[in-house]
């Protein structure tokens, strides 16, 4: 990526994120509840209720990217949490116990909301944090969708959204405003639409944008989704990408291959991976992870629509559906191969990958590799081993000829 002019929006992002944290402190001062939410959570309800949503996973990712996950984790491990747990959780719990805060202090929650569409680690982490901070914990339960979504599951989720709204009304002493919810949902959907258009530019050959860029630019779609700020940020980014494409500024000049990555990046090694792929003329073009925020809402039936979007996310789907979704990305972007990340921190996204690799290769005829590691903790990252696996993968790619499978 050497020599590529930096994104102008990078400055905007810094400003926006600083503003986000400032808003958290401001909320605290004004007595607005600061609430914890999970990344795949109907935050639209939180914004509509006028609460401030805080994303502890983001904190975990930040700690990981700044390479201090093991330091924070040590504080949790000293309390009896083992290093087998999700790294984000260990960072979050560790920071709560720590005296020093290398990435700033994790926000104390007044209420914790958690949706388990993503995993079972988040509810356990939030439950534990709820005890630590002595704050109420509310679980939005999202049973797995094995094949097609069921009425039973959808109704269960809608019921819970109503329970959650009641719960918020009791806590805030204010009636919940459904009109405001529709407005927030529209803003959220608009930001998602822009974000996905941006992600789609990775299908261009060569592409002005790839997965590692997306990892950098995704913070606002997570934290600011549902606000005007997110919409204007992604408008600006989209415009900048058009300019960059016109000026032929590419993350991988002379792009030869497009690679699908599944799922989270190895945060402390983001640069290492970006360089490794770029050196081989390979653009990591997409991942289900960055595509998680692709909500399309129907504001005429807001709760049902929230339920559909937030329960039907890929990680909550059965084996076959998840394979098919990966193949869809591979086809849509014209990938030449795929890398599946067996992430020790993240069982829900890792268990099953060994077999999925074989199925995807069989069905697409493309080479694929599973690499072992951890998204945040370098104690589980063996660079030589990863490199050796990737080298073999690239040998296969070379034999296949490259330049797209279309």
């Amino acid at each position: 990526m050497a020599g590529r002019p930096p994104f102008k929006t990078a400055d905007l992002m810094k400003k926006l994120m600083a503003e986000y944290y400032a808003k958290g402190s401001e909320a605290r001062e004004k007595g607005v509840p600061v609430v914890w939410v999970t990344a795949v959570f109907p935050v639209e309800i939180i914004y509509a209720a006028g609460l401030f949503p805080y994303y502890p996973e983001n904190f975990g990712a930040l700690a990981a990217a700044r390479k201090v996950a093991d330091k924070l984790s040590a504080h949790a491990e000293a309390r009896g949490y083992f290093f087998d747990l999700c790294g984000y959780a260990r960072c979050g719990l560790g920071d709560a116990y720590a005296q020093d805060h290398p990435v700033g202090k994790i926000e104390r929650p007044d209420i914790l909301f958690c949706c388990n569409t993503q995993c079972g680690s988040l509810p356990k982490w939030f439950q534990t944090a709820g005890r630590f901070y002595n704050a109420p914990f509310f679980l939005l339960d999202s049973p797995m969708i094995e094949t097609t979504p069921t009425t039973l599951g959808r109704e269960y989720f809608v019921e819970q959204l109503k329970e959650m709204i009641d719960f918020i009304e009791v806590r805030t002493g204010r009636p919940f405003d459904m009109d405001r919810l529709a407005e927030v949902m529209s803003l959220s959907a608009e930001a998602c639409r822009l974000w996905n258009e941006i992600l789609d530019t990775a299908a261009l050959r060569p592409a002005p944008f790839g997965f590692f860029d997306a990892c950098f630019h995704m913070a606002p779609i997570v934290t600011w989704r549902g606000t005007r700020e997110a919409v204007s940020y992604y408008r600006a980014l989209k415009k900048e990408l058009e300019e960059r494409a016109a000026r032929k500024i590419y993350p991988v000049p002379g792009e030869r291959y497009k690679i699908y990555w599944d799922h989270i990046p190895v945060w402390p090694k983001l640069r290492w991976f970006a360089d490794y792929f770029a050196e081989r003329g390979a653009l990591v073009a997409a991942s289900q992870y960055t595509h998680s925020w692709a909500w399309k809402f129907d504001t005429t039936r807001p709760l049902e629509s929230l339920a559909e979007n937030y329960t039907e996310a890929f990680v909550n789907r059965g084996f076959d559906q998840r394979v098919q979704m990966k193949i869809n990305f591979i086809n849509k972007y014209g990938m030449d191969g795929f890398v599946l990340f067996s992430n020790r921190s993240c069982k829900p996204n890792s268990f099953g990958l060994y077999d999925k690799r074989n199925v995807i290769s069989q069905r697409t005829g493309l080479p694929g590799v599973v690499i072992e590691g951890d998204m945040s903790d370098l104690r589980f990252f063996y660079e030589d081993q990863v490199r050796a696996r990737l080298d073999v993968f690239f040998d296969q790619l070379e034999k296949g000829g490259g330049t797209g499978n279309q």
């Binding site: 949490y81 039973l152 109704e155 819970q160």
Partner: protein, 389 residues
Amino acid sequence: MSLPTTPVNGKVEQILARLERVLEDPAGYVRQVKSDRRVKVIGWLLTDVPEELIHAAGALPFGITGGREGFSWADAHLQTWACSLARSCLGLGLQGKLNFLDGLVIPHTCDTTRNLGGIWKHVRPLPMMENYLLPRQVDRPSAKAYLTGELGRLKAKLEQCTRSGITAGKLQESISLYNLNRSLMRRLFARHVRDPETLGNRAIYNIIKSSMCMPKEEHNRLLIDLEQALSEGPRNTVENRHVRVALSGKVWEPPEIMDILDRGGAVVVADDLATGHRYIDADVSETGDPLDALAQRQLNRMPCGCFESGRRDRRRFLVDMVRKSGSAGIVFIHLKYCEPENFDYPDMKSACDSAGIPSVRVETELGNVSLGQLETRLQAFLEMIGGGD
């Protein structure tokens, strides 16, 4: 510490030996039952699967509680950092040892079980494979409505598989049969607590675990005979000087852990194990709509790391459990890589500390564990809480 042992009578020994034999190779045993009785067998994984439904569909429920080998079979499909219970169950399936199953029900209790079904179905499909999608919050009204619906869904799938309708009457009968089994086991457990010499920890927990894989009709008969034989046997007059301990965790694996406790002069008086009191505690109501009753039992079960309940705090539950049972301490038996347990552990431990309850945590696995180390740790703990002698 040497304790005098009372010789149990022949009949008792016979029954216990029979259960022990079943547990040596549960799959082999059930395969035999299947061929003798020409009955469909539906496997289930731990924990909380409503066996009554399977039974009412005319099939034999078979609880797969893992094995001691075959892990390498699983390695190509499931990472080694999955818990050994899941790896071992999948390993059994991959070795073909569960080929006789007509179906399998996997309860969703954690991210491991949530992913296991998909892998299993892909590599070793069985005629029926169902995920049992339990609600993970159990306090709010939505959970009840959903669970009743989910039980209805499971019921329909079972009916399809066995081609026989589950009527309310049949389900009631199954519920009564299971209630009887649970109450027999609870009675025997109470007897074990009063008189730890006669049965011993290994034997009483073998009784519970064997119940998971044997036809309940037969298990009930054996337990009734056992009670009878025990009451006819010589009365144990040796003073009960056992150290009372409670256990917490998923499974009492490796099974030798019970022998270690027996040798150490400890009597297990309470637990929250999936292969212990979670299985035998609390009956299903025999009045009212049976599906509703099954749901009700599930939502009111003792707390565990897999379900969220603000109403029933697990820390308080454990402290109460220890106090009510008069345990001198608690042993946390945790499977390596089991996230729900590990997330709960530090707070459970500090709740015990605050309540003045001594505790120890041992991390175990199915299959390869160093029994020597386990024994040393447990022995030291027992000496500490028992004052030694």
